[in-house]
């Protein structure tokens, strides 16, 4: 599903050039559960941003679903983000003035879906994360774990193929963090490709395949499980 070839991402920091990603090549089949670990500045977030099409590599190629993404313009990238990729962020990024359901509906709203369909599918997504009864709550009325679950519902409402989670448990206590991870694993079990960037070895080790990064290089790959 995902193929990276000699992927580099350089940042100019003052006079210096920092190689955030240094010739990374990688193949991830559909339906995988992958954790990406490594110290700060190891390039794992940069990798996630590139995989999520929020950033573009300096060199190398990124093929998603058999399509090379390097030639795409902004609108095409936006459309792929919209339809194929779901994001879960460390700080949830819910819109405070919108209810849980409206937050979940947001991607469908951007894609111009019918409001009735939006409500149905938004509600169904909330049910899948166990928050079917929280439709009209504002983010401020929800606990941290619930907020992250709303964010997951938002990430899956467009039925994407790839779920990218950037430190999804970073702002949660361990109990709600475990719950969030379990929900994502359940989604993975239903066929969603799951990539989790994390500091937490307890969470990282749950993944079937583990990647460890250091200084922009892929240092360890547990490989495709048999």
């Amino acid at each position: 599903m995902i193929q990276l070839q000699e992927l580099c991402r350089d940042f100019d920091v003052g006079e210096e050039v920092v190689h955030a990603l240094d010739h990374v090549s990688l193949k991830l089949p559909a339906g995988e559960y992958v954790s990406i670990m490594g110290p700060s500045g190891s390039g794992k977030s940069t990798l996630l941003n590139i995989l999520g099409l929020l950033d573009t590599p300096t060199s190398g190629s990124y093929t998603l679903d058999g399509v090379n993404t390097s030639q795409m313009d902004d609108n095409e990238l936006a459309s792929i983000r919209q339809n194929k990729i779901g994001f879960v962020f460390q700080s949830f990024h819910l819109v405070p003035r919108l209810s849980a359901l409206e937050n979940v509906e947001l991607p469908m709203m951007l894609s111009g879906n019918d409001p009735k369909l939006r409500r149905e599918r938004g509600h169904a997504a909330l049910e899948r994360v166990g928050l079917g009864h929280r439709d009209s709550h504002r983010p401020s009325q929800l606990s941290g774990g619930e907020r992250q679950r709303v964010a997951i519902a938002r990430a899956i409402v467009m039925e994407p193929k790839l779920l990218l989670a950037d430190e999804p448990t970073g702002n949660l206590d361990s109990a709600s963090g475990r719950e969030v991870v379990k929900i994502m694993e359940a989604l993975n079990a239903q066929g969603l490709t799951l990539l989790v960037v994390t500091h937490d070895p307890n969470i990282g080790e749950r993944a079937r395949r583990q990647l460890k990064f250091k200084d922009g290089r892929l240092e360890h790959d547990s490989g495709v499980p048999a």
């Binding site: 999520g52 929020l54 950033d55 936006a78 405070p96 951007l110 894609s111």
Partner: protein, 402 residues
């Protein structure tokens, strides 16, 4: 993204920051209200002046002794110097023009008017009954100097409504004797009350036959010859005739000024129209200022909601969608502000009408529509920069709130 959703998102953002929204509405509203108030002032002044001139009568041509180089309406020339008197003979000669329907000579002066022990200094007009027809004055009582002509005087006078109450009180005035200067005359009629007309307060005037007025003021010169052309089209012809005829009588010298009501009207109309436009333009500057304010506030809004913009981008929002969201927000601010401004402006103008009822304050429709359009255009124009800035945000940086 659907238009309705875009509106809902933008509207939601406005509701979320009520203080900011209120300030913006106020800025735009003040601009729009200023346009309405100032233009209605100018418009009221224009209407006041043109109405005054219209109330003089229809198809008027006025002959003024003395030559003025500037044509049109210069109030100073109404008291211009007189090199040669304009006489009743001149008036009679002009009356022979086929384009002149009516003509009245006018002599103006002041004299003490008394009855018994009551005495007052009042404007006295000497003229003929034609004058009433030209000015379209109505009579409250009696007749306007019956049987008086340019050649024939009579010991008669017509008084204004205020003169009647001051001198006669509740006594019936018709047929009563009144002393005007050193002459005695009977009251033949009372004018219906009218508003102040140009130069003359119709309510405070005594009118006597022109010949008697010439004798009273001991002068053969006329203050004016007022004539009514046979039609609107005949006005310039009557004007030319009057000029030519009098010049012939004055040994070829053009020593009178002949103005038409139309020329005066269009001059004043033009002056006040320009004035109104200028006032509107000055007020419109405040709309542009409001626009700049909207721009600043929208820039602040963009930085306040950087993370939200990043999120929308991550969720697949296109550049266009982000621009549309912020432009809609700016447009809502401007449009709402303009509507509030319209209400405010009409309110202030209504209050002005109450407190100062001489002028008829009505905001001109073009000013209201113009202010509305300019305000909305400003909202969109000054919303473009912040909206583009939002759309150009790097999603990664934006998600980190930077």
């Amino acid at each position: 993204m659907r238009v309705l959703d875009c509106n809902k998102m933008a509207g939601g953002a406005l509701v979320r920051y009520p203080g900011r929204t209120f300030m913006m509405l106020l800025a735009t509203a003040i601009g729009v209200a200023a346009v309405l108030v100032l233009t209605s002032l100018g418009e009221a002044a224009r209407r006041f002046v043109t109405d005054e001139f219209q109330s003089l009568g229809t198809h008027l041509v006025i002959v003024i002794p003395g030559r003025s180089e500037t044509s049109g309406a210069n109030p100073a020339m109404m008291i211009a110097e007189t090199p040669r008197d304009l006489t009743l003979d001149d008036a009679r000669a002009v009356l022979r023009s086929p384009h002149v329907a009516r003509l009245a000579p006018v002599v103006v002066g002041a004299a003490s008017v008394s009855r018994g022990s009551l005495e007052r200094e009042i404007s006295v007009i000497g003229t003929t009954p034609e004058f009433r027809k030209i000015r379209e004055w109505r009579m409250r009582l009696g007749e306007f100097l019956p049987n008086v002509t340019m050649e024939r005087g009579a010991p008669l006078c017509v008084i204004g409504a205020k003169v009647r109450t001051e001198i006669f009180g509740t006594d019936p005035p018709l047929g009563q004797w009144l002393r005007v200067g050193d002459r005695r005359c009977r009251v033949s009629g009372v004018l219906a009350p009218e508003g102040t007309s140009v130069m003359i307060d119709v309510n405070e005037v005594v009118i006597i036959p022109v010949i008697d007025a010439q004798a009273l003021f001991n002068s053969p010169g006329l203050f004016r010859i007022v004539l009514q052309a046979t039609s609107r089209e005949a006005m310039p012809l009557a004007q030319a005739d009057a000029k030519r005829i009098i010049a012939e009588r004055h040994y070829g010298e053009e020593d009178v000024t002949v103005i038409t009501q139309d020329a005066v009207l269009s001059t004043f109309d033009g002056i006040f129209g320009t004035l109104t436009m200028a006032l509107g333009g000055i007020a419109a500057i405040s709309l542009v200022v409001a626009g700049v304010l909207i721009m600043n506030v929208m820039l602040v809004a963009v930085s306040q909601r950087t993370a939200e913009v990043g999120l929308l981008k991550a969720l697949g929002a296109t550049r266009r969608q982000i621009i549309a969201l912020f432009l809609t927000e700016a447009f809502f601010l401007a449009a709402l502000g303009a509507l509030v401004g319209l209400l405010l402006g009409y309110g202030i103008v209504a209050a002005m009408r109450v407190f100062y009822d001489t002028l008829d304050f009505v905001p001109p429709l073009w000013a209201a529509a113009g202010a509305l359009l300019v305000a909305m255009a400003c909202g969109i124009f000054f919303g473009i920069l912040p909206a583009r800035r939002a759309a150009d945000l790097d999603p990664i940086q934006a998600l980190m709130g930077r």
